[in-house]
């Protein structure tokens, strides 16, 4: 397992939005998607995920409904609302810009 990276403030929201971009997931699925797609580098701080999901639902970025999972359990599925999708697009652009800027600075320091 690669050493885990601390999540920057506000990053979790972006990752959750990203996790739900492909379709509805329940909370456990979201946490595993983040862990796996980051190559085990990112793990969510304990106790942070569900408050984040609920807060985003309250803001209207996510909608939820209870359904029976493929493992025949009652699970709460979250999906992006239109507002959430717009948020995702905005945050993604922001992140790309941020990464590019930091990259340029690193290159400059090297040169």
């Amino acid at each position: 397992m690669a050493p885990s990276v601390d999540l920057l403030q506000g990053t979790l929201d972006f990752l959750v939005l990203q996790a739900l971009a492909a379709g509805p997931r329940h909370g456990f699925d979201v946490s595993r998607w983040i862990r796996d797609s980051s190559g085990q580098a990112l793990s969510i701080e304990e106790g942070a995920l569900y408050p984040a999901l609920h807060r985003m639902e309250r803001r209207g970025w996510l909608a939820s409904e209870w359904a029976i999972s493929d493992r025949r359990r009652r699970a709460k599925y979250y999906r992006l609302t239109r507002k959430g999708r717009a948020q995702l697009v905005a945050q993604e652009a922001e992140w790309r810009r941020y990464v590019a800027v930091v990259g340029r600075i690193l290159d400059a320091a090297k040169g």
Binding site: G27, R32, E46, G47, Y50, P51, H54, R58, S69, R73
Partner: protein, 884 residues
């Protein structure tokens, strides 16, 4: 699909939320544990790893509960808003269906709102809006006082104040007169203000064109200069740019125009040009009260502090003078606003109270109408309640309707006010010149909002309260047989009748007071007399400065006027009633203590030509009038009035008494005069004025250069033609004098203009109230009859007489009206004392006025009942009984 599920979720309670939170966490735990087991951990270890991943369960649940509660609150808020919007839309539809009701409700609210808005705008301008000067709150008016009684300020005292007073950033004295502006063969009357140099600093105003007075223009015999008003610049000089530096002639003075003041400067009232007071010099007297004083307080100093320190200073500077009631021993500093308002606050508050009553009446009417509507759809209400609608739902429905009615009515009222505002402003600015254009500022808008809120509260909550109460009590079964809102409606009507009565009684009292005033014996004849004020130039060098030339001019003018067609008789004098001025002074009577003491006796000083009393119809009570034989060089003669005799010569034979009356002319003329006649009293300033002791002198013996005299003409033809002839005559004889002539009756009109205006306004409000009350009664009685059709039908079927039917139909309503009248009379008696200051020789408890108001209101109530009574009598019993 989604939305339906959302609705179901909303119905689930807080317990389900709790379960959902736990389930969600448990689901995560289960999956994490499973994952660990698959990875090969032993069961205990797997459970532990899963729990660690989620963290402290208690804290987590708490955090999520908080979020859930917040989102529940937000959801409820939007739902509530949504429900209100729905109700408002529903109310709009329901009101639109009820055309006549809507029309009545809208117009009632509109009338009340327009009146209240207008009145409040005036109040706002009079009491709260800043005067149009920078930091206007610091501008004050300053007076001298003697034993607390305010006096105009003596020049010498002002100069000491100006030099030594603390607490003032600037102090200025001013006085005004009406002058004559001559330019290009045209003479106009203009308002002239004589002001000291710091006047502009006090007002905080600088000329928009040119400059204020410079050093050499503000000393005695300096360069004569003037600053003119924006209005004069526009109207008389066509905004000519080259006016600056040119010379204009005012009252014979040649003044260089150095500046134009902004239009905002409207002080002293009526001033069209300002001239430096310093040019003229002033006496050293501390008892010649010639000046008004304005000041600008230093930042942080209030009027009380300034009053105290200025009083101390005044005592110090006057302590060396012999004390008389003319020598100040104090000072009074108060805001310029209170000076400008004068006596008007009482009238304004009275009228504001009147419109508040009008609003009350409109609201009660609206409430009664809404009750009637609520009663008509009681079936619907009962059904809703049975289906679980709560009290809040009923309130929402009712208040939403009231809101729609109030909002539309208010909109119409605002439109109506804005429509008449431009016509109100000129009338108002006669009385309160500083009120401006009455804009809808923040305070007025706030007032409007609270009006709407008040209407909603009363007209919304009362019917809702009634509907909720009856719906609970009656239940579905009692539908149709339950008690109507009659009692509630009748109580409202009683209050409404009482309020209307108070307004009517007030208007009746003011009307009677005005009538009394107009019936007042004036002591002189009014009809077929015109008066022409003649203000001859009197500056140094003018020929009319000479006493004999002045007297000769008027003697000749009177002769020529008498020769004009349709002129009967002509006289002149300085104190024509209503239009002339009648200064008071100290007279002395030979052989009485007043001959030698300091104060003499206080009397008015008037100068009249031969024929003055007979032309004006002032009765001669003893002795003779002035004659042409009283020549300048013969011994002085005087005529005194009835009050003078009663007051100062009781029991003595007035004829032959000798009187001395000095200090009243330019060249002090203090000779003894013999009383040769006694004439009747006149009400000099108008019908509200009490006669005062007066001494008349013969103009030929005591001419008055420097003072305006009036030509009094008794005529037989129409006044305008006579005035035209007089204008022609004066234009030939004295082209430098502006023509100021008017029928004497017009003078009476302006003397009673104030009382007439407030009576007319209050009467207008009272009539509006009467109409509203009648409409309300018509609605309430009509509703009562409609509601009791079945009962009345039964009575008719059982052989009730017409009288019995009428009694049953309108009896209770009439009882409410009588009750209201009784309350109204009580309230009027209580409130009347407040208005007694505005009443002239009428008691606030005047029986005739109060009875007239009661009769008018009772009559209107009966008329309002006529329609419903006709309907009650026309009920067909067979149909009425079949219907329900």
């Amino acid at each position: 699909m989604d939305s339906r599920r959302g609705k179901l979720f909303r119905l689930t309670g807080r317990r389900d939320v709790e379960r959902d939170l736990a389930d969600e966490l448990d689901h995560h735990l289960a999956l994490a544990e499973e994952e660990a087991l698959v990875a090969g951990a032993d069961p205990a270890e797997a459970r532990g790893a899963a729990e660690r991943e989620l963290g402290d369960r208690g804290r987590l649940l708490e955090e999520m509960r908080t979020i859930a509660a917040a989102s529940r609150r937000a959801k409820r808020r939007t739902e509530r808003m949504g429900r209100w919007l729905l109700e408002i839309r529903r109310a709009g539809r329901s009101i639109r269906r009820d055309r006549w009701f809507a029309l009545a409700a809208f117009s009632m609210v509109a009338v009340a709102v327009a009146a209240n808005l207008g009145m409040f705008s005036v109040l706002n301008a009079a009491f709260w809006r800043a005067l149009p000067y920078p930091e206007a709150g610091r501008i004050v008016s300053v007076r001298e006082t003697y034993e607390g009684r305010p006096l105009a300020v003596a020049g010498a005292n002002f100069r000491d104040w100006h030099r030594e007073a603390t607490g003032f950033a600037a102090l200025a004295a001013h006085t005004s007169w009406s002058g004559t502006l001559v330019r290009a063969d045209r003479a106009d009357q203009v308002g002239v203000a004589i002001v000291t140099r710091d006047f502009a600093a006090v007002m905080g105003v600088a000329p928009v064109v040119g400059r204020w007075f410079a050093e050499e223009e503000t000393r005695e015999n300096g360069a004569p200069a003037t600053v003119i008003s924006d209005r004069l610049w526009r109207s008389r000089f066509g905004m000519a740019a080259d006016l600056l530096g040119s010379t204009i002639e005012v009252d014979g003075y040649h003044l260089t125009v150095v500046g134009v003041m902004p239009a905002a400067l409207q002080y002293p009232s009526g001033a069209e040009l300002w001239i430096p007071a310093e040019l003229f010099g002033d006496s050293e007297s501390r008892t010649a009260h010639n000046w008004k004083v304005v000041g600008r307080l230093t930042e942080g100093v209030d009027a009380e502090t300034a009053t105290r320190s200025l009083s101390d200073l005044t005592v110090r500077i006057t302590s060396s003078e012999p004390a008389t009631e003319y020598l100040a021993n104090g000072a009074l500093v108060r805001s310029l606003r209170s000076e400008l308002l004068g006596q008007s606050p009482g009238v304004l508050l009275l009228l504001q109270a009147a419109v508040a009553l009008l609003l009350l009446i409109a609201v009660l009417n609206l409430t009664a109408l809404q009750l009637a509507r609520a009663s008509k759809r009681r079936g619907e209400t009962v059904m809703l309640t049975a289906l679980g609608a709560g009290r809040m739902d009923l309130v929402r429905r009712s208040v939403a309707e009231a809101l729609v009615l109030a909002a539309v009515g208010t909109g119409l009222g605002v439109a109506a006010w804005l429509g008449v505002r431009s016509r109100v402003v000129p009338v108002l600015s006669e009385a309160l010149p500083f009120v401006g254009t009455l804009p809808l500022d923040l305070r007025v808008v706030g007032f409007l909002a609270s009006l709407i809120a008040l209407v909603c509260l009363i007209a919304g909550l009362v019917p809702a309260w009634w509907a909720a109460r009856t719906a609970q009590r009656d239940g579905v079964a009692a539908r149709g047989r339950a008690v109507g809102p009659g009692l509630t409606m009748r109580s409202l009507m009683s209050v409404e009748v009482a309020a209307t009565y108070v307004l009517l009684a007030g208007a009746a009292l003011l009307g009677k007071s005005l009538g009394r005033m107009l019936d007042q014996p004036l002591g002189f004849e009014l009809d077929n007399r015109v008066v022409v004020a003649v203000d001859l130039p009197s500056q140094p060098g003018s020929p009319f400065r000479d006493r004999d030339r002045n007297a000769a001019f008027f003697g000749q003018l009177a002769e020529q006027a008498a020769a004009l067609p349709s002129v009967r008789r002509v006289a002149f004098g300085t104190a024509a009633p209503l239009l002339g001025r009648s200064p008071d002074g100290r007279a002395r009577i030979a052989g009485t203590p007043s001959e030698s003491n300091v104060d003499g006796v206080n009397a008015d000083f008037r100068v009249a030509s031969p024929g003055f009393f007979s032309v004006l119809g002032i009765p001669l009570l003893a002795g003779r009038e002035f004659e042409a034989t009283d020549r300048a060089e013969s011994p002085y003669v005087a005529v005194v009035n009835e009050s003078f005799v009663r007051r100062f010569l009781p029991g003595d034979e007035p004829l032959g008494q000798r009187i001395r009356f000095g200090g009243m002319d330019w060249a002090d003329d203090d000779r003894w005069a013999t009383v040769v006649g006694v004439v009747g009293d006149v009400r000099q300033r108008g019908p509200g004025d009490d006669p005062v002791p007066a001494v008349y002198y013969n103009y030929a013996q005591r001419p008055q250069p420097g003072r305006t005299a009036q030509l009094i003409v008794e005529h037989s033809g129409p006044a305008p033609a006579v005035l035209d002839d007089l204008r022609g005559l004066l234009g030939r004889e004295a082209p430098m004098v502006p023509f100021l002539g008017e029928p004497l009756a017009d003078g009476l009109e302006s003397a009673v203009a104030g009382p007439r205006l407030r009576t007319a306004v209050l009467a207008g409000f009272a009539i509006a109230a009467l109409v509203l009350a009648a409409v309300g009664l018509f609605g309430v009685v009509g509703f009562a009859v409609a509601q009791r059709t079945r009962e009345l039908g039964l009575r008719i079927a059982l052989g009730a007489t017409a009288g019995g039917v009428v009694r049953a139909a309108i009896g209770p309503s009439l009882v409410a009206v009588v009750l209201g009248l009784v309350m109204g009379v009580g309230a009027s008696a209580g409130l009347g004392r407040l208005a007694s200051g505005l009443l002239f020789e009428v008691s606030p408890l005047d029986a005739a006025a109060l009875a007239a108001a009661a009769l008018l209101l009772g009559g209107a109530a009966l008329v309002a009942c006529l329609g419903p009574v006709r309907r009650a009598l026309a009920i067909d019993p067979s149909r009425a009984l079949r219907e329900e």
